[in-house]
Symmetry: none
Subunit: 227 residues, 2 copies
DNA sequence: TTCATGGTTCGATCTCCATCAAAGCATTGC
DNA sequence: GCAATGCTTTGATGGAGATCGAACCATGAA
């Protein structure tokens, strides 16, 4: 016994519900403040602070102080990969789908992932963007592609306006339900924003579920999937 | 909050030292009895029994009764992948290599990962396959590449024979020691099988370590690294 | 049948840690 | 300077669960 690395130490960090929820929230790649994470974890600020300290001590999180805010983010892609692997097992062999959750199918179709769209629609959209050179993969990163400017102005999103900010314009985010990448970052947020302001879809109360109206779905598909 | 799969449930199962040690022991791919696992976990039989019941309930383990023995094994390759991913994080950010462990260097070089080869050799092999278009990366997935058929028949592995099964032929698995991908899936298992049946290497008893003989190493390199 | 072995269940104990209220720092803005 | 905001620390409380001895059940052997 006691051979490889100390996996119990890491796993037990993820094994607390509050911490797990915080980590899940950070899977977007965006860094969040302690207050936001407290909300995600469903605990008070002091409790969240204690959890965050442990996660940093354990090497799962990094923190960047900025004025009186402190932004917490995943320590790296490896941590995200691990979380994705755990989600895979949890979703697959999990509690026998004891309660599939009333909103489970709707969640798989479309949901909010912090501030951008996730689920089947989001993954399809990402595929389209990559196929049309609107976005291009550059190693680990996603960048605006040659066709991005003309396309996004046509759709009515001003890409120039997004910066400047430390938050990347594009970023990919691993979708737990579809198990492939979807678009996060400022651009992902802008697209979700457009979907909501155009009233193509609305957010279900107290949930991450996004519900499209019939007309809204058509408009969405025309704008983002058929290009 | 409380959106995706219940990762806290799974992670907390792995998060107990006794259970973590048991799971690590099962990474050899062999099924073990409750008594053996109690020893691995460093706990008494009743305690181990309780842990094992939880791991089964959680879907991480399966059990096969055989006479008055009960053999416990990992529930599947997905569980093994998850454990490797956790090991990756633990090895990277871990507690400063408390005790590197006597077999640590050998483990890094070559070891069993459930049913396929892991460690430096395995990562190099994966690199070779990708460089030679024997395998190709397709987004998140790994597929057989244009040169796969001719190559594997030359080496003496019948790729056609692997299917049909729900288990993917190729799959990548994050190597905790090298921190890069190696090959899992049916093909990965077939390759390990060949290495062992050809007696290029043998498994150390009660360990994940794989030891190559001098001749075996040459044969392995000729077959899988030099192509 | 009777004994031995492998495993589980029960019950009691005890330690660890998640939790929150209140107080303490630190940074920004006025 | 002073107040307000964001976050951490302290301290006290409570509960979950890991642990083991002893009793119990099942299978196989004599």
């Amino acid at each position: 016994m006691k051979d490889g690395p100390d996996i119990a130490r890491i796993a037990s960090l993820v094994g607390d519900p509050a911490r797990a929820n915080m980590l899940t929230a950070l899977m977007t790649g965006a860094a969040l403040t302690a207050s936001e994470l407290a909300l995600e974890g469903g605990v008070t600020l002091p409790t969240a602070s204690s959890h965050l300290a442990k996660l940093i001590e354990g090497g799962l999180l990094t923190v960047a102080a900025q004025g009186r805010h402190r932004y917490y983010g995943l320590a790296g892609p490896q941590v995200a990969s691990m979380l994705e692997a755990i989600m895979g097992v949890a979703a697959g062999v999990g509690p026998k789908r004891a309660r599939p959750g009333p909103r489970e199918p709707a969640m798989r179709e479309a949901r909010v992932c912090y501030d951008h769209l996730a689920g089947e629609h989001a993954v399809k959209m990402m595929d389209t963007f990559l196929a049309r050179d609107i976005l291009v993969r550059d190693g680990q990163e996603i960048r605006l592609g040659p066709n991005s400017h003309s396309y996004f102005t046509a759709v009515g999103i001003d890409v120039e306006k997004l910066g400047p900010s430390r938050r990347p314009v594009c970023r990919d985010c691993l979708d737990w339900s579809v198990r492939r990448s979807h678009l996060a970052g400022q651009l992902g947020a802008a697209i979700l924003d457009k979907i909501l302001t155009e009233k193509w879809a609305r957010r279900e109360k107290d949930s991450r579920v996004i519900t499209f109206s019939p007309k809204g779905r058509q408009a969405f598909e025309r704008a983002f999937l058929e290009v």
